[in-house]
Amino acid sequence: MRQKKFPQPPRWADSFITWRLSEQTSEEVIGDLHELFSEWVEKYGTRHARMLYIFHALGFLWPLPRMLKRGRNAYPNDHSTPFISTNMFFNNFKIAFRNLLRNWSYAVMNITGLSVGIASCLLIFLVIEFETSFDTFHAKRDRIYRVVTQYNTPDGEVYSSGAPTPVTETMRNDFPQLENAGAIFGGHGGLVIIPDQTGKAAAKKFDEGERVFFADPQFFQIFDFKWLAGDPKTALNEPYTGVLTRETAERYFGDWKRAVGKTIKQNNSREIKITGVLDDVPVNSDFPLKVVMSSATLKGGSGAYLTNWENTNGGAHSYIVLPPNVSPASINAALPAFVRKYKPAAYANQGFQLQPLRDIHFDKRFGNFNGRTFSRELITALWLIGIFLLVIACVNFINLATAQAVNRSKEVGVRKVLGSSRKQLLMQFFGETALITFCALLLALGIAAVALPFLSKLLAVQLTFTLDSKVLLFLSGVFVSVTLISGAYPAIVLSGFNPIIALKSKVAQKIGGGISLRRALVVLQFCIAQILMIGMLVVVTQMAYFKNTDLGFDKDAIVAINVPYDSLSKTKYQYLQNQLLAQPGIKDISYSFATPADNGGWSSDFKFDHSTKTTDWEATLKWADTAYFKLFNLQFVAGRPYFNSDTVREFVVNETLVKKLGFSKPQDIIGKELNFWDGKKVAPVVGVIKDFHANSLRDPIPPMVMGALKDVYHTLSIKIQPKRVTETLAYIEKAWTQAFPDNVYEHHFLDERIANFYKQETQLSILYKIFAVIAIFISCLGLYGLVSFMTVQRNKEVGIRKVLGASVRSIVYLFSKEFTLLIAIAFVIAAPVAYYFMHQWLANFTFRIPLSWTLFALAGLSSVVVAWLAVGYKAVKAAITNPVNSIRTQ
């Protein structure tokens, strides 16, 4: 018989009481009121009872002694247990812990998935932290700007990190509103010789590569590099003075304190007195200083280096500081007039711009002394990947937790019956999530610590793992957000169980709604994983394409060595050449400005065929002797190589230049004249070579002009036999040092150097591989957990199917069918998204792979296969179980 519903007192009155009184007191008071209410209902009927109820409830409206009011929990002389007790917390903790141990495999899966996600996020954070910390230690960093060169040509925009050398001094004079201006010139001869003071031992030789600079004293006023010795105000005032960094000074003189006053010889020509020592430049700076000489040193010397307005050398940087009240826009507006005033008319379109210091590490167009920029897009991409991985892990957690919900239903039912409030249960389940997340966090710290050295090596940066405030803040942020995101839904579901239904074990039927959410989450996981996979495949294929594309010239077994280019050394070139050719291990020798693929080089416009106007585009100039063509196996499509000579008598051009000049047949250009720099270099074209990639495959092939110009050669290229390489190399080194005793010998293999061009992309491709693997791993972990659960839940169904005659195969098919469908849906969503992003990325490269459907198919199929493998074991196990066991229990 249906029980008549007992009349209830007005709910709002109860709310009023809870609002007015402390938690404890309101419980007692409302209890009293309810008790009285049932009496009143019997005596006076429902309506009157309700009015009495309100009457008594409103009695608490008047002022009350403080202890009864809301917000107070301590009742005086209270001998009973407090409402919220620490005992409860420990109890919950104990139960959560026991729960974890009981469903041990589920806990492990959850913690593993979460910790991998958190660790990836943490590592990405460390990398981004490092890359965004470059040169942030300068006090004036927000007001420092670099004057860069940027202008338009029909070929596109041209960028240079440098400005003509006189710019700094001129701007100091012309722009009095500048707070400061200082120049630094890099890329000068890195050879440093320490003459031995006692005269007995040989001098020490060092090659500092690109780390030798000339700088104004103002440079050190603008940038905050710490000085260990010497006076920053005066150390670089005089010509032929210089400072060393501590590590350099220690290498040269043992103890850096003894360095001041000593002399070094730079580039075998300049005697420099050491006037100070700098502290080592931190790793996160784009000024890798080792030796800094005063720019005044350049005032003497040849060629009016400091007054040349025509040339722009990328290594000649000009930095200014603006006072707080001057905006960069105001200076930028005045720059075009500045350009017109000082630059020769032919170059008046080469405009200047102010680039803020904070962009220098990130802007690939201009670069920096480290030769490496970190694109801001990459930072965004990495952030997204990190967040995605974390999302996948959280999704895992949610899926597994709700799947396990059925197991906890009885516990929740009992708790509710014993008086637990919804809020208490929420707290309990959030607490359990927090416990799991915390364990995952600890494990993630361990994983990150182990992985960090590998990551550092991979990215060629130095990452340190210190638990400083930023990292801790980040970790606690991750902890809180992961707990909230992962814990919210399961906690709500679990605490919402109707105790009656739960205790009757009928909960399973109620979680119908949970299944569609679970499906959506699986789709989300695999969607993200597949996007990463497709991205990875595209990047890897593109990198392989770069590596394997024929560059148009031979790069195997070629050694490139720098040779000194002072006039004395040049006389020894021929002798050295003969020496080397005598060695059987050596096939060809060539002297040139650079190897075919060295990115740097000369470029210039020119007058073609007696025309009075110069071309409005620039050709790349490569200077080399005639042996160059044979050594690098450059193919001729018309004409012949030029004859050997010391200066330019004949030119050879490439196909692109021919086309740019408007000729359809390369033959037609033979005999025509090219005029560089108003008659300084004039010669006819005698040959056309097939295009080769002079720049990285990112950029199109430039129009190229080649000629002989012994004055500027400083590279010696040697083609060696593949056999007995070490012997040959030793011979080369010996011959070289004999010829150039005052210099430092250094060689590199051409194919290695070329592989280095794509270092950042190669690093990225490795990273993407790792991330894709992690994403699939976590997703499959989740899938595995889900399937484990579902096989348990549906074991009765499986048993009945088997009894009715289903084969093992059909049962496995039953389970895998659902997931395959979900993965397919994920693929349908992932493919267009991945296509869009990859298309954009590939557009960066002039020479790129087509975005073929095979890549997408590969990604989709492999994720399905991996999922089957993950799921297969469990599914098969479920399919083989004896139906007797599953149907027996009721």
């Binding site: 404890q24 007191t25 419980e27 007692e28 008071v29 409302i30 209890g31 009293d32 009121l33 309810h34 008790e35 009285l36 049932s38 009496e39 009457f55 008594h56 009695g59 608490f60 008047w62 009350l64 002694p65 202890m67 009864l68 009742y75 005086p76 002389n77 209270d78 001998h79 009973s80 247990t81 008086g419």
Partner: protein, 101 residues
């Protein structure tokens, strides 16, 4: 101590450690035939406890209370002493009234 507080204190003593808000209210209403508000009772009990004349502890929950616990009050020795003092004072004063009344 006010008259109402004394009344409440006496009732607590009467109920012999089984008294709580609702029952005390009920007793007072039955015996004095006055309509008292529950809040008055609770406040009085609280003040008595502050003065140390009663002691409380939280006790059982029942279905009528919707599962909420109740706070049971017991009189303390000092509470008994005060009641005795009041009664003695009253008796003394009564004895001083001349015989014919």
């Amino acid at each position: 101590m006010g008259e109402f507080e004394e009344l409440v204190l006496l009732t607590v003593a009467i109920m012999n450690a089984e008294g709580y808000g609702a029952t005390i209210l009920h007793e007072i209403e039955t015996r004095t035939k006055r309509s008292i508000q529950l809040s008055a009772v609770h406040v009085a009990l609280y003040r008595l406890e502050e003065k140390g004349l009663v002691r409380s502890n939280v006790g059982g929950a029942t279905k009528e209370r919707g599962g909420r616990r109740k706070r049971l009050f017991t009189i303390t020795p000092s509470g008994i002493r005060i009641l005795k003092e009041i009664r003695n004072l009253r008796e003394q004063l009564w004895n001083l009234i001349p015989k014919p009344i």
